[in-house]
């Protein structure tokens, strides 16, 4: 009998041991990812939305790579130095080709310019869609909302100057230029209401907003830029007139977040300024040496190029817009409104900045001559700002109708049945 009882005790202890071991294994099957934040964590927290605002600005800085170089190479501001850069060379061959087949749909940078800008759009939407459910100081919220709208509008702007049609609803439909500009201008107008309606907190301006980024004047400058592109000349003029003469805004780099162009222009020497920039310049134009150097790169299968004189360090900022651009928007708006003397006045402001003599109504006697002069001044003032290709189109400087816009990236075509036909 005694043996049997011990037996049972042993059994009991075994059962207890089994139960204890089983309790080690709790049955939770939702494990949070320690390696990255998840949508749940980011979109439903104040800290998450703030971090998104920082990330959104970083995202646009990151997209400046293709946003600057593709239009610059297509429009002949920059040339690739090496025949090995097959991806970039497709853009160089593009404007002279008879069809857009020069750029393959699978060109990696084609996907990049599309995906990076839509990435910024997505992050802006992440902020705009989720901020109302969270509690922010009014002056911080207004800043965040305004900033998201500016960055979204700006990204659409880069896209609509590179592609014939874009989507402003996440891929459901594609719209043409007038609708795209309407959306861009509406976002900017709304942003203006946000940032002027409430005093922005120093919390926002000091620890979220990128340094040296004047929000209100950037809104005005972008309103002027895209009103002009949309053909609303009076609006463009009045927005440009809102901008004080000392205002500026830049995209800032720092730390590991570097301006890629230092490496492209001076490190690996991927790109140089096409020689015509120096050769065709008006004698005495100070912008020539401001933007380029006199040493040329060996033309490895391309045109002769000169080393540029911009972005010579990893931390150099990229201007969001410039006073020269604002002045020339005024000039162009006036010219297109046929207010030629006023337009010439604006042209002369820019010429004076470049140490060039003033033009007169005698030397610029027709609207066409004034516009030509504005195009020339834009060419020299706005070197590698991503605007030159659009300028060529607006001023009618592209001969081949077929190559006015990029083809749609392969991945877009493969995944979105609504993708328009290539231009």
């Amino acid at each position: 009998m005694k043996f049997q009882i011990n037996d049972r005790r042993a059994t009991l202890r075994m059962v207890a041991a089994v139960l204890a071991l089983m309790s080690v294994s709790a049955c939770k099957l939702d494990i949070s990812n320690p390696n990255a934040a998840t949508a749940q964590g980011v979109l439903t927290s104040v800290a998450g939305i703030r971090a998104l605002a920082v990330g959104m600005q970083g995202r646009l800085s990151f997209s400046m790579d293709e946003n600057l170089y593709i239009p610059a190479v297509v429009s002949g501001e920059l040339g690739t130095t090496s025949i090995t850069q097959s991806t970039q060379r497709e853009y160089q061959n593009f404007p002279t080709a008879s069809s857009n087949s020069a750029i393959s749909e699978t060109n990696v940078d084609l996907l990049d310019i599309w995906a990076k800008n839509y990435g910024t759009v997505k992050t802006a939407n992440d902020i705009l869609d989720n901020i109302d459910a969270l509690s922010f100081a009014p002056g911080t919220k207004a800043g965040l909302v305004g900033l998201a709208k500016i960055y979204q509008a700006w990204s659409y702007g880069f896209l609509i100057e590179a592609f014939e049609k874009i989507s402003i609803d996440g891929g459901a439909t594609f719209v043409d230029r007038p609708a795209a500009f309407a959306q861009i201008l509406s976002l900017l107008a709304s942003a203006k209401t946000d940032v002027t309606g409430t005093t922005l907190t120093t919390d926002f301006t000091g620890s979220i907003l990128s340094p040296n980024f004047d929000m209100l004047n950037t809104i005005r400058a972008l309103q002027a830029r895209y009103s002009l592109a949309a053909g609303n000349y009076a609006d463009a003029l009045s927005f440009a007139n809102e901008i004080p003469a000392a205002a500026s805004a830049v995209i800032t780099f720092g730390g590991a977040d570097i301006n890629p162009f230092n490496n492209y222009f001076h490190g690996q020497k991927f790109y140089g300024a096409i020689s015509t920039f120096r050769a065709n310049a008006e004698p005495g134009d100070t912008r020539v040496d401001k933007f380029t150097k006199s040493n040329s790169f060996a033309p490895l299968g391309g045109a002769t190029t000169f080393e540029t004189n911009i972005f010579s360090s990893d931390g150099d900022p990229i201007p969001a817009w410039s006073q020269d651009e604002v002045t020339l928007i005024r000039a162009e708006a006036l010219a297109r409104l046929n207010r030629l003397p006023e337009a010439i006045d604006q042209i002369n402001i820019v010429r004076a900045r470049a140490s060039l003599p003033a033009k007169t109504a005698a030397t610029l006697s027709t609207q066409a001559a004034v516009l030509d002069e504005i195009f020339t001044q834009r060419t020299y003032s706005l070197f590698v700002t991503g605007l030159h290709w659009a300028d060529e189109r607006r001023f009618g400087k592209i001969a081949l109708a077929k190559v006015r816009y990029l083809p749609y990236p392969f991945t877009v075509r493969a995944t979105n049945p609504g993708t328009p036909a290539n231009p």
Partner: protein, 979 residues
């Protein structure tokens, strides 16, 4: 309260039988084979209880049964023999019972594990389970367990991926079942799920040791390989690539048994690649040429010693074993050391309850050689291929400074002398096992398993190295801390109802895996400092965790012990599955019919033709878990703006619909025993279709995402597996057994995502996946041919003249599919011959049929800029036009070679010491074995070894010959003794 809890707990264990005073019966006898030979090690037990013992050297056994009951069955099992049963004829006193076991050529009577603890005889199963005995493993005399399995299992392709010491073996069961995951089977050691990943902590090119290499082959009792759908109930969503269950040796009651085994081995390179011996270089100037294989390779010794002790009484048994392995690699500067200790304890608490503990500790350290590979550009053999062989690599005799290798890569002699790339492991594997027989016919068990290891890998290149990439040196240290836990309950219950026999089974299985990897690196090192200190230090960390909870139910119905029907349903939920599809179901059915047990067969002439005929079939589903534990989630990743830290969505969208890859598999087969048990044939046809393959899918970038992992692909495979066993001679002086395996497979991807064909990352954009093609085929530039098939130059003129001499330079054609690394078939052929009592011989041939290898090595050897291969001498000697090889190096089709090979895998002669001598030595048995491994390879492949692969154990980078050391040829002398 207490009695209530107690009775509750007791009822949990179904212990409710009344307490009665018990009688005792003592059973004794001998277990012999039908020729009268003693079968030591045969198990004698009372079926369905913990009561049992093992036959000693003369086959004798003595079993004490406390509380015997009428109807109890005495069951005897020995590996390779049909089991025997005898109902107890008395319940008191002593009883004598001898057994004569009949050889079981196809091992149909062997017990195999089909559900977590559901043991069943193989003959009842619809699906095939292969068993490899511990003897077969240790006889192969390999350092690693998995390498020893080569050729032992039909339908499992065992491939050693590198000749570096320390492991790196891949086992692929029934071909490829995935594209994105590891295709290695799931490994279970004594019920503990063990890690067999091949972490590449530091890329040393074409080599990463797989963690199964930590196990000691000497500890293995036997291995069961569960192929395909049969494994579904076992490990549902982790069963797509098959399951390998390893059982280690355990102690048996009786006198202390000691065995000792010592091996001395000598390894060498099997053959060298012919090198360029042209006395001139391109410009015609004379040069001295070297064969650096003579300097880089060495004859490498290996010592291995194992001591094991086992024994116990009728309540407690133990098995204690220790092994020390020490070997040098055939590449200079490489070596490997490993120590294993294992202690297995079993305690019988009472007739109905026993507990077992298994513990193993492993520590190992390998010094490996870095060899470029697919992501890096430095390494020992890399430098060999990327340089002309007329450069004198020896250090300056005065300064000791190593000269540059000429092309910016490191001087290989400098690497041998000064670089360090050690990899070390400390690992503990422990299992706890409770088994209860609460009522007659019922078995309940619980298991807890833990496998934890820390692996560290380092790369140290000192300052002033000859590698242009690291002028100021580099020191990297990466540590992987991995923990696996499993906790399982299984209950099975056998019920007899007339001619029907029901076996019910239910169970639960819980798994948790955690892996943390931390990597630190620095450059610009301080002199003489080997640790990570210097400027530009960087560190990264990644953590991974996954949990899986599974339940299953299984029902087997036996009809008259001739027809068996099995059905099971497994449900798995894993944290790696999308939250919307968390619960996954895997059903399975199987049938087995022993035709030869029916009277119509037994009574007819058919029985003389085939004494056993079994037909079987199975149909079932299993799964393969997503590779990344967090792939289902939409993650937000770091994005800086200037010096501020922000987040943005990852461009890879999450997918809460992410399911396991799902395999549908059916198999049909037959087991046939003919010539009165002298020959056995096992034949199986399998057909596998894996849907929901997880592949990257493009997402409309307009949404802010670019890609997503989704269940989009389909992969199909089918083939046959055959096993033939012949007992040719069974005389008293000479015995001769022959066995062979043969298996085919033909994997084909039948669907990929809408994005179409894609290249596998880190494959030099050569290895591709496309719909309608073999997975991982080679895609590259081709020759241009004219209408009659001649290779032509750019002008369309054949490059060979009428006499067959090369006179032109080939044109480079477009990229096409140029090869397929998946072999069509693989086979083995084994002969065992015994002469008298003391001599035995063994020979094993392994072979692979079909498939191609991309010989990147040969491309480098004949590339003019390096040109150290024999072929390139033709251009220097003016036998082919100048520029021929420069053009040919761009035509990848040229470097696709046939993979087909035959290897003389094992040869062994064993001399068992005569009994007289044993007596004087005081041992029970002793043997001396002279063996050879990988002695000879027959192949058209022109590189070192058609088996090795620069992609190591990666799923799709296979058949890629690039700077991977060959598997050595080994000669070994082994002495084993028991006392």
């Amino acid at each position: 309260m207490r009695p209530t809890i107690r009775s509750l707990l007791l009822s949990l264990l179904f212990i409710s039988s009344p307490l009665v005073a018990r009688a005792q019966v003592v059973i004794a006898g001998r277990v012999l084979d039908n020729g009268g030979k003693a079968l030591p090690g045969a198990q004698v037990l009372i079926d369905g209880t913990t009561v049992g013992t093992v036959a000693v050297d003369n086959g004798g056994y003595r079993l004490v049964v406390n509380s015997p009951r009428a109807g109890m069955v005495l069951l005897v099992r020995a590996l390779g023999y049909k089991p025997a049963r005898q109902t107890l004829t008395q319940v008191t006193g002593s009883m004598s019972q001898d057994f004569r076991l009949i050889p079981d050529v196809l091992r149909l009577g062997e017990v195999v594990v089909t559900s977590a603890r559901g043991e069943t005889e193989r003959s009842t199963l619809g699906a095939t389970i292969a068993t490899v005995g511990g003897d077969e493993i240790s006889r192969a005399n390999t350092v690693q367990v998995d390498a020893a399995l080569s050729g032992k299992v039909s339908g499992a392709l065992v491939q050693q991926m590198s000749g570096q010491p320390g492991g790196g073996t891949s086992i692929r069961i029934r071909g490829l079942s995935t594209i994105s995951r590891s295709a290695e089977p799931l490994y279970i050691v004594d019920g503990v799920i063990v890690d067999n990943s091949s972490p590449t902590l530091i890329d040393v090119g074409g080599y990463s040791s797989n963690r199964l290499s930590d196990l000691d082959p000497n500890e293995i009792d036997h291995i069961e390989i569960v192929k395909g759908a049969a494994a579904a109930a076992l490990y549902g969503s982790r069963a797509n690539d098959g399951v390998v269950q390893i059982f280690t040796k355990r102690g048996h009651s009786g006198a202390l048994r000691t065995s000792f085994r010592t091996t001395f081995e000598s390894d060498n390179i099997e053959h060298k690649i012919p090198v360029n011996e042209a006395p001139v270089k391109e410009d015609g100037s004379p040069v001295t040429r070297y064969d650096y294989q003579d300097v880089l390779f060495q004859t490498a010794p290996r010592f291995s010693n194992t001591l094991s002790l086992s024994g116990g009484d009728d309540k407690n048994t133990f098995f204690l074993s220790g092994t020390a392995e020490q070997q040098k690699g055939i590449l200079k500067s490489t070596d490997y050391r490993r120590q294993n200790i294992r202690l297995n304890l079993d305690r019988t608490i009472n007739d109905r309850l026993k507990v077992g503990v298994s513990t193993a500790y492993i520590t190992s350290k390998a010094n490996v050689a870095p060899n470029a590979g697919l992501t890096n550009s430095f390494g020992l053999l890399t430098s060999f291929f990327f340089m002309p062989n007329y450069i004198n690599l020896n250090p300056d005799p005065v300064t000791g400074v190593y000269p540059s290798q000429g092309l910016g890569l490191a001087n290989p002699l400098d690497i041998i002398a000064n670089w360090h790339t050690p990899q070390s492991i400390d690992r503990f594997i422990g299992g706890l096992n409770f088994t209860a027989f609460p009522i007659a016919g019922m078995t309940a068990s619980y298991r807890f398993g833990f496998d934890g290891y820390t692996e560290n890998a380092q790369l140290f290149v000192p300052r002033g190295s000859t590698a242009a990439q690291f002028p100021t040196g580099i020191s990297t240290s990466s540590t992987d801390r991995s923990r696996l836990v499993n906790s399982d309950i299984d209950v099975s219950y056998v019920m007899n109802a007339g001619v029907l026999k029901f076996t019910h089974g239910v169970g639960m299985n819980w798994q948790r895996q955690q892996v943390d990897v931390v990597t630190a690196s620095a450059r610009d090192l301080a002199l003489f400092t080997q640790t990570v200190q210097g400027s530009q230090p960087t560190a990264t960390e990644g953590r991974d965790e996954r949990r899986t909870l599974g339940f299953y139910g299984q029902e087997q119905i036996g009809v008259s012990d001739r027809l068996f029907l099995t059905g099971s349903l497994r449900s798995d939920a894993s944290s790696a599955f999308g939250s919307e599809v968390r619960q996954q179901w895997f059903p399975k059915v199987g049938a087995s019919l022993k035709v030869s047990d029916y009277d119509f067969w037994r009574g007819s002439s058919l029985a003389r033709l085939a004494n056993t005929l079994r037909l079987r079939g199975a149909y079932g589903y299993s799964g393969g878990q997503p590779a990344g534990s967090f792939d289902r989630l939409s993650n937000y990743v770091f994005k800086a703006n200037g010096t501020r830290s922000g987040v943005i969505n990852s461009t890879q969208a999450g997918n809460e619909q992410l399911k396991p890859e799902r395999a549908r598999e059916y198999e049909l087969g037959t087991d046939l025993e003919v010539l009165e048990g002298r020959a056995g044939i096992e034949l199986t046809y399998f057909n596998k279709k894996i849907t929901d393959l997880i592949l990257p899918k493009s997402v409309d970038p307009t949404t802010g995402f670019i890609s997503q992992l989704a269940n989009v692909g389909v992969l199909e495979n089918h083939g046959i597996e055959g096993l033939l066993k012949l007992f040719i001679l069974r005389g008293s002086t000479v015995t001769w057994n022959m066995s062979g395996t043969y298996a085919t497979n033909s994997p084909k991807v039948t669907k990929v995502s809408s994005g179409g064909a894609f290249f596998i990352p880190e494959s030099f954009n050569i290895i591709r996946v496309d719909s309608g093609e073999a997975p991982g085929h080679f895609f590259g530039t081709t020759y241009v041919r004219d209408a009659s098939g001649n290779i032509v130059d750019a002008a369309g003129k054949p490059i060979k003249d009428a006499s067959g001499k090369i006179v032109g330079i080939p044109a480079i054609g477009p990229r096409k599919i140029i090869g397929n690394p998946n072999p069509n078939a693989y086979w083995s052929f084994i002969n065992d011959v015994g002469v008298g009592k003391s001599l035995s011989f063994r020979a094993q041939f392994d072979g692979v049929q079909g498939g191609e290898i991309f010989n990147f090595d040969r491309r480098l050897l004949e590339t003019p800029a390096f040109g150290s291969g024999a072929a390139y001498a033709d251009e220097l000697n003016g036998l082919v036009p100048k520029g021929y090889f420069q053009a040919r190096r761009s035509i990848f089709e040229e470097y696709i070679e046939h993979q087909t090979w035959v290897k003389l895998r094992e040869v062994a002669v064993t001399w068992s010491l005569p009994e007289g001598l044993l007596g004087r030595l005081g041992t029970h048995g002793a043997a001396l074995t002279l063996s050879g491994r990988n002695l000879k390879t027959w192949t058209d492949f022109q590189g070192w070894d058609p088996e090795t692969n620069a992609g190591a154990q990666r799923t799709l980078v296979r058949g890629f010959a690039f700077a991977t050391p060959p598997i050595p040829r080994s000669y070994a002398l082994t002495f084993t003794t028991n006392f």
